[in-house]
Symmetry: none
Subunit: 259 residues, 2 copies
Amino acid sequence: MNQQQTIRLAVIDDDSGFVTVLAKRTEAAGWQQRTSSGAIPPEELVAMKLNALLVDPTVLGEDAWLYLERVCGMLPDLGVVVCTERSTVAQRVRGLRLGIDDWITKPCHPEEAIARLEAVSRRRRRARPRVEAGPVVAGELEIRADRFQAFVGEVSLDLTRREFELLQLLADSQGQVLEREGIYQRVWGYAMAHGDRSVDVFIRKLRQKLEKLSPGWSYIHTHFGVGYRFDPESLDSKQPLHSSFTSPTQARNKLSLSR
Amino acid sequence: MNQQQTIRLAVIDDDSGFVTVLAKRTEAAGWQQRTSSGAIPPEELVAMKLNALLVDPTVLGEDAWLYLERVCGMLPDLGVVVCTERSTVAQRVRGLRLGIDDWITKPCHPEEAIARLEAVSRRRRRARPRVEAGPVVAGELEIRADRFQAFVGEVSLDLTRREFELLQLLADSQGQVLEREGIYQRVWGYAMAHGDRSVDVFIRKLRQKLEKLSPGWSYIHTHFGVGYRFDPESLDSKQPLHSSFTSPTQARNKLSLSR
DNA sequence: TCGACCTGTGAAAATCCTGTGAAAGCAGGC
DNA sequence: GCCTGCTTTCACAGGATTTTCACAGGTCGA
């Protein structure tokens, strides 16, 4: 394993002794940390782009469970570790089921806390060794990550940031069907609220821009009840019905429509 | 969302009491479990396609660390939980750094062990929604999970989401008879109402689509009063035009008929 | 062989899902 | 503050999918 990128951690605890020692060590390890002695609104946590959260629910008061549930629901990728003084098996089980990743008991050795925070954040790292290589080409499209833009020939699609990120995600998983939740989670960075149509709307925008500069190609396919799949497909085969040869991909797509 | 996929767990421990209780509970939860009282070679673990591994390093003897390191290195997607009697902070930290996901202390409540196993598999699963293994092949069928679709040759069956999930479930339990209640529970995610015929209806749809693209094969078999069993069976006892060899599965089916 | 149960079927009815246009909400620059 | 471009939210229309029903045909045990 190579060196992990710095971890962004938030600590919600009012045990100043513990917090201080912890801060010292995490800083030494190069982590970025923010400490709070009270709940941090979930929206703010989202904005902080955290990797891990360490929290002592006793400082949350009554609504601790509710709070933890909301946080875990909203940030499924966030590593959440609870660290508290006394707890019953039932509480721990409830917490873990809720989405908490680890539950440790005070007093605990800061080194162990750190090791556990690292363990819960580890998943992130495996994410994607994005190919540094050249631009991605798909159909008539050329996606240049370095410019945050896609081109057809030398003409830019004029994508906004979100549009670009969405397109990039889709193109990176070319051929695979991606579900809306997953897309949202990866592009927006937090869980999609039930009933949110943002993904659909952005797909439409992408399609419009793609159609405008590259008619004759179909890039994004809808899979009803599931999500979308990116797969450049040339439409121009003059007579679809009689064409005597088609690439395997085309053939497959023709017959399967975009289900 | 619907049901969490069943978790495949392996337990390496010789504390028969603990193991037994655990097995009882995981079975009730629908997990697939295998228990061993000694180390399981990493290669074998890979083949088992596990989600989680619970291990007491004391049964591993001298080479415990080495073993754990190899397992964690080889199976980055596997959730590994150590459960042992005594341990020092240093050991735990070493283990967690090594790639272990959680370290709990015996005696521990089985419910908590399960909750923690769930938590680590949840995390691991999210980390890589990747194309688990290649496509599943059965008879002339090819089931591609990454496309939410099944194919015969390059032609899609055009399955809807439910149809696909049903087919996938059946195929995953190839050879086993599944009861309607169980099927419903796993595909729909909640209990089947008395008298609900949905499963039957979807089985019919699947059969129709299968028949259309792969006549000459029989995939889904009815077990009167029980449920359905998926087992590809070539109907034409003559020599199939395209295959001159029979898989063990096929051979077995020929002899056992469908009930 | 006869009834009591199950399962297969076709089709109507009820739901759910996606595409779309447009308005409302926001954030940054002038 | 005002403008401008981007994002989010809404409501509706048209389809696709799922559920539900009623009935026909099969299977099993007595």
